[in-house]
C-alpha cells in the first residue's frame, strides 16, 4: 500500500540531514525529551478545558479557561517539529510502522474535531458559559471526542517501539 512512497523515504534516509538526526543518540534523546514535555503541555491544557466542558470543576468560567489554548498550540508545535525531525531521521522505519500511521490518523481526527469546535460556533456559545453552568450538549460531545482521541494518540505513540535500539547502535 505504501509502496509508492518507498523511493521517497529511502532517498530521504540517505540525505545528510536525515543522518544528522540519528548521528548522535543525545540529539535523539533531546528530541524525544521535548516530545514528552510538549505532550504534557498539550494534554494538560486541552485536557483541563475538555474536562470543564464535561462538567468537572464546574465553577471555572469557560471564557478565561480558553486563554490556555495558545499553550496547547505551543505544545502541539513542539511535538509537530520534534516528530517531523524524528521522521526525517528514520523515514523508512516510521513509514512501515502501522502504529505511527494510526497515530497520525488520530491526530488528524483530533484536528477535525478542533475545527468542528471553532467552525460550528461552539466556541462562541461556550464562552457564555459562566461559573457553575453547564456547557451545551454539542460542546460536551466535542470535548469527550477530544479526550478520547488524545488518549488514543498517547496509546498509539507508545506502541511505536523498538527505535531506541536502532538509535543506540549509531555513534555516540
Amino acid at each position: 500500500m505504501l509502496g509508492f512512497v518507498h523511493p521517497f523515504v529511502t532517498w530521504l534516509a540517505g540525505t545528510q540531514f536525515s543522518k544528522l538526526m540519528i548521528g548522535s543518540k543525545w540529539w535523539w534523546a533531546f528530541l524525544m525529551d521535548m516530545h514528552f514535555i510538549g505532550l504534557a503541555l498539550l494534554i494538560g491544557t486541552i485536557g483541563v478545558f475538555d474536562l470543564r466542558l464535561l462538567g468537572f470543576a464546574k465553577q471555572l468560567p469557560i471564557a478565561p479557561l480558553h486563554r490556555l489554548m495558545p499553550w496547547a498550540i505551543a505544545g502541539f508545535s513542539i511535538n509537530f517539529v520534534t516528530v517531523g525531525l524524528a521522521f526525517i531521521g528514520m523515514p523508512v522505519f516510521y513509514t512501515y510502522d502501522i502504529a505511527f500511521w494510526l497515530k497520525m490518523c488520530a491526530i488528524l481526527l483530533a484536528g477535525l474535531n478542533v475545527a468542528a469546535f471553532y467552525f460550528t460556533g461552539t466556541l462562541r456559545r461556550v464562552e457564555q458559559v459562566g461559573a457553575g453552568e453547564d456547557a451545551p450538549l454539542l460542546a460536551k460531545f466535542i470535548a469527550a471526542t477530544s479526550l478520547l482521541l488524545w488518549f488514543a494518540v498517547i496509546i498509539l505513540g507508545r506502541y511505536i517501539q523498538l527505535f531506541e535500539d536502532s538509535i543506540s547502535s549509531g555513534s555516540n
Partner: protein, 172 residues
C-alpha cells in the same frame, strides 16, 4: 562496585520475568503506556495551575482550580504504581544508573512543591488572592523547572544505563 545479588533475585522472579517477556497486552509496554498517561495527568494538570499563577488566564478564579490537584494525585498514583512494576521488571537497569536517583529526587521535590502551592496558595485563604498568587509565582516557576527536569531524567534512563539486566553490562 559489585551489583548486589538481590537485584538478580528480583529479575529471576516470576513477576519480573512475566513483565519483560510476556506477550500479554498487560505486560511491559502496557505498563510503560500507563506511566506516560500518568505523566500527562500529573504534569499536565500541575502545568495548568503553574501557568495560572504565572499570569496566564489570570481571570480564572483560583478556588475551582483546586480540583485539579485530585487529577495530579491520580496521575501520581498511576505513576508510582506503574513505576514500581517497571522497577520490578528491570531493577538492575534502573538502580545501577545514577540518573534514576536524580529522577526520583526531582519527582520528590516537584511533588513537595505541588503540595506547597496547594497549601500556600489554595488552602490558606487568610491572605488576599493577589498576595497568594504573588507568593505562588516563584513556586510555579520552580514547579515547571522540576517537572521538566524529572521528565528529562526519565527520558535519559533509556539512553544511559550500564546494565540492561543483571550480569549483562552494556558497552557505551
Amino acid at each position: 562496585m559489585a551489583v548486589p545479588e538481590f537485584l538478580n533475585t528480583i529479575e529471576q522472579s516470576g513477576l519480573s520475568t512475566w513483565i519483560r517477556e510476556s506477550d500479554s497486552l498487560f505486560a511491559y509496554y502496557f505498563i510503560l503506556l500507563c506511566h506516560t498517561l500518568g505523566l500527562a495527568l500529573l504534569v499536565g494538570a500541575n502545568t495548568v495551575v503553574d501557568l495560572r499563577l504565572l499570569g496566564v488566564a489570570s481571570e480564572l478564579p483560583l478556588k475551582p482550580l483546586e480540583r485539579l490537584f485530585s487529577i495530579m494525585w491520580l496521575g501520581f498514583g498511576i505513576n508510582a504504581t506503574s513505576g514500581v512494576f517497571l522497577l520490578i521488571a528491570y531493577p538492575t537497569k534502573a538502580l545501577t544508573n545514577p540518573i534514576f536517583y536524580i529522577k526520583l529526587s526531582l519527582i520528590a521535590l516537584a511533588v513537595i512543591t505541588m503540595q506547597r502551592i496547594k497549601n500556600r496558595v489554595f488552602v490558606n485563604v487568610s491572605l488576599s488572592e493577589a498576595t497568594r498568587v504573588a507568593r505562588g509565582k516563584m513556586m510555579a516557576k520552580l514547579s515547571l523547572g522540576l517537572w521538566i527536569g524529572a521528565i528529562t531524567a526519565g527520558r535519559l534512563l533509556a539512553y544511559t544505563y550500564t546494565y540492561r539486566l543483571f550480569g549483562s553490562r552494556v558497552a557505551h
